[in-house]
């Protein structure tokens, strides 16, 4: 960005530090003037506004110097601000709970990380993130596997027919076969979902699954222009698998999973 220098003079002198007040930072956007986003901030509706440096702005609200627990209430407040900003801007989200001691410290962040923020904002221009979690119903998947897999069906019939005499070994073998078939099925479903969403997304990332019913916990980076296409494709895939799998589809989110700027921050004393 070559526009940086011309806007430098526009930066207003920083107001004196408000006593005991820190700044909670939600995200970074490109904007060369100040802007008020209303009383929607964390900690019960603090005013959300910008701290500007050249053509970058940090979206902040005043906060006492505290450590915010990631409670649902707090996380939703953080998220709500980002959602509001995201309606108009491409943004780089900050980690939940990032508090600076003063406006000056926020300015120092923008200044020291100016180039990295600018580059990433460029890359993320008009990109949004969607979350997709896929859960399966174990019983239904097992039933489907028994339908399709001759060997498993035969072994199971044999065990039920000779309930009394069926060996421990036969049961063990059945268990092992079912386990393997389930893992294979899980991999197949996951690969198919990724495949079908490939041409309507820019990138994807798989995160660790949560709980024993989840087989996919992924984030997709999507171009705003392709949002509708992505949406329709997700719905089509979930219809295709509706008897076996549950799709949990969320978004649009800021690109949490696709921005990785290591900020050199230290504890403020």
């Amino acid at each position: 960005m070559a526009s940086g220098d011309s806007t430098a003079e526009k930066m207003e002198p920083l107001p004196p530090e408000s006593a005991g007040e820190g700044k909670y930072v939600y995200c970074i956007i490109r904007l060369d003037r100040s802007r008020d986003f209303g009383e929607i901030g964390i900690g019960g509706g603090a005013r959300v506004y910008t701290v500007n440096y050249k053509d970058l702005a940090a979206i902040v609200s005043d906060t006492p110097i505290v450590i915010y627990d990631p409670t649902r209430e707090n996380v939703l407040a953080h998220e709500f601000v980002n959602e509001t900003v995201m309606r108009e801007f491409t943004l780089i989200p900050m980690s939940f709970g990032t508090v600076f001691r003063s406006e000056k410290d926020v300015g120092a962040l923008l200044k020291s990380t100016y180039q990295a923020f600018t580059d990433v904002l460029e890359k993320m221009q008009d990109k949004i993130e969607f979350g997709l979690k896929v859960l399966w119903d174990r019983d239904k998947v097992v039933a489907a596997i028994e339908q399709d897999n001759d060997e498993i069906r035969r072994l199971k019939d044999e065990i039920t027919r000779n309930a009394a005499s069926s060996t421990y070994f036969a049961r063990m073998q059945l268990g092992r076969l079912v386990e393997a078939a389930m893992e294979e099925a899980s991999n197949r479903y996951v690969a198919d979902v990724h495949d079908q969403l490939k041409d309507v997304s820019v990138a994807s990332r798989s995160n660790k699954v949560i709980g024993d019913r989840m087989i996919l916990n992924a984030a997709f980076l999507v171009d705003r222009k392709a949002e509708k296409a992505f949406d329709e494709r997700v719905k089509a895939v979930s219809r295709q698998y509706e008897d076996l799998l549950t799709f949990k589809y969320t978004g649009p989110w800021p690109p949490y999973n696709f921005v990785n700027i290591k900020l050199k921050l230290e504890k403020a004393t």
Binding site: P70, R72, G97, L135, I210, E266
Partner: protein, 99 residues
Amino acid sequence: MGLLSNILLAPFLGPIYGTKWTLDKVDRVVREQLTDDTPIKEDLMALQMQLEMGEIDDAEYVRREAEIMQRLRDVRDWREKLGMSTSGGPVRVAEDETE
């Protein structure tokens, strides 16, 4: 005399060294458990998932969330006590970056 004393003392030396080694290991494992918030965050995500799936109600969520928050605070306390870095709290750009 060396060999004999070693052999004679071996049963005593053995368990003592063994115990020390085990304690070191226990100490390390305990420290890791006290100072690692990853499993706690995973529990929080699992709890949110349970709420989303309708497996627990709101009251149950709030109760268990409070427990998890306490565990997070405990980890933070331990990390502070042991002089490790903690997340949360006021930050600033590291000195050598701005000067």
